[in-house]
């Protein structure tokens, strides 16, 4: 099964990331987003990052999860290759959804990159049983 595919959108990048679980779909979504800027297959797994985010609902959780990789790219120059471990939990806290993950990747400067994902958006966002759909602003 393919991990993700890009759909038509005039201005921005819109993709669907598939998975048997939300965890798998979220992981593939992160990779899909980075693939707008670089080829994940070529990135070496040299650095490891721990990710921990929360959200008021699953949409917000996905938004915050993806945004983390834009943040890491800007601040630390970290370019994601793939998600190694991921766990989504529902708690009784004020922010009921939480996610913990382990990501691997490398310093962006070494790779051929293009375009620029400015932000994750809620536009046309869908969390379905077997996929998630996201439009990112570029």
């Amino acid at each position: 099964m393919k991990k993700y595919e890009f759909l038509e959108h005039t201005a921005d990048a819109k993709f669907r990331a598939y998975g048997k679980s939300h965890e798998e779909a979220f992981s593939n979504a992160a990779q899909a987003m980075i693939s707008v800027m670089a080829d994940p297959a070529k990135i070496e797994p040299k650095e490891k990052k721990k990710i921990s985010v929360e959200g008021r609902d699953m949409e917000a959780l996905l938004y915050n999860f993806l945004e983390e990789f834009l943040f890491l790219l800007d601040v630390e120059g970290f370019l994601l290759k793939e998600i190694k471990k991921i766990r989504i939990r529902k708690t009784k806290k004020k922010m009921p959804y939480s996610l913990e993950a382990e990501a691997v990747g490398d310093k962006a400067g070494k790779y051929d990159t293009h375009g620029n994902v400015k932000a994750v958006t809620y536009n046309d966002m869908k969390i379905a049983k077997s996929y998630v759909q996201v439009v990112v602003d570029i």
Binding site: H9, T10, D12, G109, K118, T121, Y122
Partner: protein
């Protein structure tokens, strides 16, 4: 959805259930056909549903689908009872364009274009993950956020005269760095003085055609063949993070119930949260002004080195494309202070407005509309009519027509570069794919966008400029 044609260049979506005001679109038949193909009109109608919106929700000729507001969306809200919405400004806060004139003709510059572009490429960091001024401390960053271009000029980046020729004199007064999150600050710290990627560029251009000689002269545009420099960039990761932070905070504190689109989340303009966003957004605006000011300085240095002097490289103007601010507008015969949102639109004030520099007060302000990579750009002049019918606003660019994925499938960067070379345009970029994404056929026809702005009366044609050398991020 019912769409009524009001005149040759004006259309209306009448007020229906849920809408507080009608929506108005400035477009020709040709542009309207394109606009209808995505969700632009639905989004324009959604904007009309927001509380406190005044008169109409506007859509500019280059509009395309955005998130929340369409790109090319303009709306005014009552400054007491209205709202402010981060999605009505956009993620790239104060993405904008600056134009420098020069005293050179193309014949003097073209033979040295290779050296000029190489040097610009070296001086101005561009692309994904490239760093700007090294070791920017938090104190300095706070100063940038508070003072905008004033910080840049007093730190030696540029000339005092540049300030007056920048929208808001290069500094939004209400900026308060304390309203900016640590996350946004840490994204801003390494990126000041970087171009970014995507559609951002530094372009060396020639004046191709002058439509209005007198106004052009006032703007410093004297003859065809004159060389100009255009800079297009914004507030980088800092601005993106501020938008995202406040969308989240508004969601968490006010909820999204009843909103036609989650990204239309908003706060009453006079509320603590609304004010806080306004102050943070003003910080991002100042960051973007400084960013363009630094790049201007480096470009001048490059010309100074290669040409032996940079005398005459004066600013024409610097305009913002993604902002919210308070302006006075005459509405149904009454002067009112309103909160204007321009998302992918340019202010287009006519003669006499106190906000525009004295040198332009008799003509109206310069309006800069960048084209897509390899195509023309336009210099227009703001009009009284724009103040009457479009809250003093017009288009901001060509507007995309084709998705980036489709562009990559359709074009090859190498070939685009070759074809541009045949037309006498030199191109430098980090990435072939990046070139393919920004290929001209992926955009609407800029000539048509500028023509419609002129015919609708919301920005009159002054000059058309075409590229000689392009550095793409």
């Amino acid at each position: 959805m019912e769409i009524k044609k009001i005149s040759e260049y004006m259309w209306q979506i009448p007020k229906t259930a849920g809408m507080n005001v009608p929506a108005v679109i400035f477009a020709s038949e040709k542009l309207m056909e394109k606009i209808k193909q995505d969700k632009t009109l639905e989004q324009a109608a959604n904007v009309a549903k927001l509380p406190g919106i005044i008169k109409h929700s506007l859509t500019m000729p280059d509009a395309h689908q955005g998130y929340g507001f369409p790109i090319g969306g303009v709306a005014a809200f009552d400054s007491d009872d209205g709202i402010i919405s981060p999605g009505g400004v956009g993620y790239d806060i104060n993405c904008g364009v600056r134009l420098l004139r020069t005293s050179w003709g193309e014949k003097e510059i073209v033979p040295k274009m290779g050296s000029i572009l190489d040097a610009v490429f070296k001086e101005v960091p561009a692309g994904v993950g490239r760093k700007g001024i090294t070791k920017l401390s938090k104190d300095v960053l706070f100063e940038v956020l508070e003072k905008g271009s004033n910080w840049a000029v007093s730190s030696g980046y540029g000339k005092k005269e540049d300030l007056a020729r920048t929208e808001e004199n290069g500094c939004m007064k209400g900026a308060e760095p304390q309203t900016v999150s640590e996350r946004a600050l840490s994204r801003g710290m390494p990126q000041l003085g970087t171009l970014g990627a995507g559609n951002h560029f530094v372009e060396i251009q020639r004046v191709d055609r002058v439509f209005d000689e007198e106004t052009a002269k006032t703007f410093g545009i004297t003859n065809e063949g004159q060389v100009m420099v255009m800079i297009h960039t914004g507030s980088r990761g800092l601005g993106h993070q501020i938008a995202s932070d406040y969308i989240k905070e508004m969601e968490n504190r006010l909820g999204t119930e009843g909103l036609p689109d989650r990204e239309l989340v908003n706060a009453p303009i006079q509320s603590e949260l609304g004010q806080k966003y306004y102050k943070a957004m003003s910080c991002a605006m100042n960051y973007a002004f400084s960013n363009r000011q630094l790049i201007t300085h480096w470009v001048r240095e490059v010309f100074g080195k290669v040409m032996g002097t940079n005398e005459g490289m004066d600013m024409v103007y610097d305009v913002c494309h993604n902002i919210a601010k308070f302006e006075e507008h005459e509405i149904d015969g009454e002067k009112r202070k309103v909160c204007i949102h321009r998302k992918g639109a340019t202010r287009s004030f006519g003669p006499g407005r106190k906000e525009i520099p004295e040198v332009y007060r008799s003509t109206g302000q310069p309006v800069l509309i960048p084209g897509s990579m390899g195509t023309a750009s336009y210099v227009l002049v703001g009009t009284k009519k724009a103040e009457e019918i479009s809250f003093g606003s017009t288009a901001h660019g060509a507007g995309r027509l084709m998705s980036r994925a489709q562009a990559i499938r359709s074009f090859r960067g190498e070939k685009i570069k070759q074809e541009m070379g045949k037309k006498g345009i030199m191109l430098k970029s980090n990435s072939w794919k990046g070139i393919a994404e920004e290929a001209a056929p992926a955009y609407k026809d800029i000539d048509e966008v500028a023509r419609v702005s002129d015919k609708a009366g919301i920005g009159k044609l002054v000059a058309r400029v075409t590229p000689l050398g392009v550095m793409k991020g």
